[in-house]
Symmetry: C2
Subunit: 182 residues, 2 copies
């Protein structure tokens, strides 16, 4: 189900509020281009995120990610692409709190809960909690997912080239493709 123009504009405006709270300034064009990614599930407030892509060349990518309170970027992995190692990402929290999960020793009593009805698609539980100014680097081919805390989150991502269409998701219903607006 495609996102409607009205929904998209509402969510863009919400994302902008979080970016403002983080003190991050966008150009008018960047504001219009804020990407609303629902990953094809049509449940944006549960599964999805908003993105501002600053740059994405053959070698370098930088973005801001915006998560609503409790919103989840679902479990995925960056495989090698065209003979190059997979995407390497550093996430730096700028505002709010973000709960990250990666493969490794599971954390007892994790802070996040996976989106309802999709719990079976989440199976890595090593928790890293990031507050503003804290960061964590995810090397290629590491399963990971993350969720916004009670105030949502703004997270800067510094990475190698982003080629989302190659990402592998645990949830077979997910489609990470260019945004479709209905």
């Amino acid at each position: 189900m495609a996102i409607t123009h009205t929904q998209r504009e509402e969510w863009q405006a919400r994302a902008k509020q979080y970016l403002d709270r983080a003190g991050l300034i966008l150009t008018p064009q960047e504001q219009k281009d804020i990407e609303i990614a629902d990953l094809g599930l049509g449940e944006f407030e549960q599964t999805g995120l908003a993105l501002v892509v600053y740059i994405n060349t053959a070698r370098v990518c930088a973005k801001e990610l915006v998560l609503l309170p409790g919103q989840t970027c679902p479990q995925h992995l960056h495989p090698p692409v065209n003979g190059q190692p997979g995407k390497e990402e550093t996430f730096r929290c700028r505002m709010g709190e973000v709960y990250q999960y990666v493969s490794g020793e599971p954390t007892s009593n994790p802070k996040a809960k996976p989106p309802k009805g999709r719990e079976h698609t989440y199976n890595v539980w090593r928790e890293i909690v990031l507050h503003p100014g804290e960061q964590y680097t995810i090397m290629p081919e590491t399963w990971h997912w993350f969720q916004g805390g009670p105030q949502g989150a703004v997270v800067s991502e510094f990475s190698t080239r982003s080629s989302d269409e190659y990402d592998l998701f645990t949830d077979p219903e997910i489609r990470r493709a260019p945004e479709v607006v209905g």
Copy 2:
């Protein structure tokens, strides 16, 4: 001439003020580690910059750069290193104003003046002025330099690996080496 501990702490505190103004949050350790680079000239307030390195792996680097009002990061170029293409950098202004100069058609009446006595080491004059939210990408092997505007500047840098020791500077007196504190 090495920077004294007292000078270093003073300049770190000033850099921290600019980062605060940009709304950028650092951990206590990052605050202590703010790099004060005078490039060996011993004239930090004219030629130099302060840096916060968030991450620098084999593939990705992200930093914040802080420029005092009128302070100049001198003309340099990133050559290929170990068979890899040179460093590619995107500069995104977060606070203040930054004047960038790259090779190309010279701009008449440029806003910046090179540091006194070193004018002969500046010879690229295509000007790009960046305000908060604006950015510019410099591809490898492009001569470039930049200067903070009247309020100074905070600039986010997104790039491939940073290996400053390989940078080429127009000014033969410049030494870009790990910081020495006297």
